[in-house]
Chain length 229, copies 2
């Protein structure tokens, strides 16, 4: 997804939850919050307070109806606690973010009642949270958090470590095997190829850094040197 989704709250009741939603958004860099007829009006002191500064990062717009709030969007998802029989595709949050295209909005219903079927009908697909049927207690702020946090899965973040070159790994493996040869570690000749493979496998899989490679050379030297004393 190129665009960060808008978060749309339909007739939210409690200011605290609007603040929690804004916080969840700001944590993951979402900035477009749309409120449809918030019960206590806007601005809302409880929302601002519970937002802990999130509204400095999140732009809030107020709409009078559902159609207005989603008018400019290209993909709209409805969130529901349980899948309903609405003949819509049902995604989990990760799938939804992956499949969304263009300017996207994600719609959350009021705290107790959730979304009306007439709203869901206007959405492209449904997002559900596959919670435990025996214990399901996600509140509005947490539901927004679970969607917003999917933004972090969009980026590639393999951290770059100072990995040793393969030739250095080979040198290390070769040296260790040579030292083991000297120490008569390979007592049974027919086991040697398998053990050697295991050692090379392990040292490759460990994904050693250059300094770790040096440390291991030092360790081999230390463990073997006393025989020369």
């Amino acid at each position: 997804m190129q665009n960060k989704p808008a978060i749309i709250l339909v007739t939210p009741q409690m200011g605290e939850n609007i603040g929690a939603a804004a916080r969840a958004m700001a944590n993951f860099g979402l900035t477009d919050l749309r409120l449809i007829n918030p019960r206590d009006g806007w601005p809302n002191e409880l929302a601002i307070r519970n937002g802990s500064g999130a509204f400095d990062h999140v732009k809030t717009q107020i709409f009078e109806n559902f159609e207005g709030a989603i008018a400019d969007l290209q993909t709209v998802y409805a969130t529901t606690a349980r899948p309903r029989d609405l003949n819509k595709r049902v995604y989990n949050p990760a799938q939804a973010i992956e499949k969304s295209a263009g300017k996207t909005g994600i719609v959350f219903g009021a705290e107790r009642t959730g979304l009306l079927n007439e709203h869901i009908a206007q959405c492209n697909a449904v997002i559900t949270f596959e919670t435990n049927p025996d214990f399901s207690s996600l509140n509005l702020g947490q539901a927004v958090l679970l969607v917003a946090s999917q933004m972090q899965n969009n980026s590639n973040q393999e951290q770059h470590l100072d990995f040793a070159q393969q030739s250095e790994i080979k040198n290390l493996s070769d040296r260790l095997i040579q030292e083991l040869e000297t120490a008569q570690f390979f007592r049974e000749d027919n086991l040697r190829p398998k053990i050697e493979e295991n050692i090379r496998n392990l040292l490759s899989r460990a994904h050693l850094s250059e300094s770790e490679t040096k440390m291991l050379h030092g360790i081999i030297t230390a463990l073997t040197k006393q025989k020369a004393d």
Copy 2:
């Protein structure tokens, strides 16, 4: 991952947060909560109350130290707010759950202080939450929720290897360090803690199987035995 991960809270301070963590777990079917020295003891009334019934679904165990809490686990992840320079792989929650294998635990530090480097060194990899650098306000319950909710995205990624338990890794590290002590490897006393941490870090990160652990014991024996000859 076949097994649902254990959630491990290191010296959690506030009962409310323990309750929120349990709620997050129960929502996504996690049942193994491990508390290391909770500040206010256990059971904790605030935790139970804020759990809203979650403790009927979550089994809680108390541990006196980190080693005990992770002893039976095969994959252990440390969660940190920001990547630190610890030479560990860094995953987001989705990647971590996907790559975990065997009995898994996910470790969360205390509310203000987070995890100590000595704890992180004993983990296989690090999970970070890629929050907005300009607004980052995840609390402990939310962090647990972001990990626990990955269970819903986790249909089937089984990759079963015969991983060693953490207690076996600790034995191996302890033995190697002891042998290096004997071999006078730690020439400068002030460098010893760092080298020791690097060794533990490397052996944890390598994610050794049981047979590899045995092989490494055999290698240490072979390399050191000749001094006794």
